[in-house]
Amino acid sequence: MDRNNLGKWLKSPGKMGQKYSLHALYFCTGCGIIEIPPSITTRWDAERFGVIPVATPRQANLFLITGYVSVKTLRYIIRSYEQMPEPKFTVGFGSCPINGGMYWDSYNTIKHLDKYIPVDGWIAGCMPRPEAVFVAVTHLWTLIDKGMADGYNKYRANYQYYRENQEKILGKLEWPPLFSKNIKHEEYRTIA
C-alpha cells in the first residue's frame, strides 16, 4: 500500500485519490449483499481501505453488484451505472453476475453482466467471503495503477454496442442515450 507515499501523491493525485477513496455503491440484487454488512462493520472494517458505502450513484465511484441480475434489475443497474460520475469502477460479486451461476438457465436472469455494462473486476464464489472483497479492492488498486481499470472508457468508446445489447433484452429504454452519437468520447469532457 502506497497510501502514505507523498511523492506519488504529488505526482498523480487523481489516481491516488481514486485508489484510496473508493466510495462504494452496493447494489443489492441478490443474496450476495448479506456478505457486505460484515465487511463494512467492526469485524472486517472496509473503511480502513477508504471504502465507505454511499447512498446514491452520484457520490459513488465503485459499483458493487452483489448477486444474480434479473432482467428487471438490469434496467436499474444500467441506470445507476450511467448516473455515476467518472472515473467509475464496477465489480461483480459472486458467480451469478459472471456467468449466471446457479441461474445459468433461468428464463429471467441475464447470464453475463459484462455484456451490458463494463465490469472491471470479478469476485468469484458462491458466496465469496468478505475477505474476498478486500482482495478485490487491492486488486483494483493495481489495476488503477496500471490504468487497466478503464471500464468507463470502454463504455464510452463502445456505447452503441452496449446500448444495442441493453435494448435487445429490455426493449426500448426510456431514457435518452448517455452519449450522443455525434460526440466522440474525447470531446465529452469539455461539455458544459
Partner: protein, 172 residues
C-alpha cells in the same frame, strides 16, 4: 368427537353436491371442486370464518393436460382450543386456453395473485380489472412456468445470442 375439519367437511358436503372433501390431518382440509363452483365454495368458506386467502398457487399436470389451481385459505380469528385449519380448495382447468372467473369479488387480495398466475401460467381470469405484467420484463410465447417451457432453449435463444461487446467490436 369430531374435530373442526370433519365438521367443516360435513357442512361442505351438505351444501355442495359435486365436490370431494378430504381431511388429511387435523390442520388440513382439501376440497376438490369444478371450476365454476370454486367461487361459491370460496364465498361459502369466507362466510364460515375462513376469511383470509393466503395464496393462490398453480400446478401444471402436463401428463393429465390440466392446470390445477390451489386456493389456500386460513382464518384470521381462530377459535381457541380448536386446531388451526388450512383449507386447500383445488380446481382443475384445461391447459389449452385456460380461463376461469376471478375471485376478487370474494377476496380482494386475490388481485396480485391472479396477475402473477396470468403472467407465469397464462391463465386468463375473467373479470379481473388489470391483467398487466407483474414481474416479467419480456414477453414469452409459452408462459415460463409451464412444464413445456424449455428454459435451456430459451436462454440459448435469448441471452446467449447476445454477443460480448469485444466480439461485436471485432466483428465490425
Amino acid at each position: 368427537m369430531k374435530n373442526t375439519g370433519q365438521l367443516l367437511k360435513e357442512k361442505l358436503l351438505l351444501s355442495f353436491e359435486d365436490i370431494q372433501a378430504e381431511v388429511s390431518d387435523e390442520h388440513r382440509l382439501t376440497v376438490n371442486c369444478r371450476k365454476d363452483t370454486v367461487i361459491t365454495v370460496l364465498s361459502f368458506l369466507n362466510n364460515s370464518g375462513y376469511d383470509h386467502l393466503a395464496l393462490i398457487s398453480c400446478v401444471d399436470w402436463i401428463k393429465d393436460n390440466v392446470l390445477e389451481l390451489v386456493y389456500i385459505l386460513t382464518a384470521y380469528a381462530e377459535d381457541k382450543g380448536k386446531a388451526k385449519m388450512n383449507i386447500l380448495v383445488k380446481t382443475r382447468i384445461t391447459r389449452e386456453k385456460p380461463g376461469l372467473h376471478t375471485v376478487i369479488p370474494v377476496f380482494e387480495n386475490a388481485e396480485p395473485y391472479e396477475r402473477e398466475l396470468h403472467e407465469l401460467y397464462g391463465i386468463h381470469f375473467m373479470g379481473h380489472p388489470r391483467l398487466t405484467p407483474l414481474f416479467l420484463e419480456r414477453e414469452y410465447k409459452i408462459p415460463p412456468f409451464r412444464k413445456d417451457f424449455d428454459t435451456r432453449k430459451y436462454v440459448q435463444e435469448v441471452f446467449d445470442q447476445i454477443p460480448f461487446v469485444e466480439d461485436k467490436k471485432a466483428e465490425k
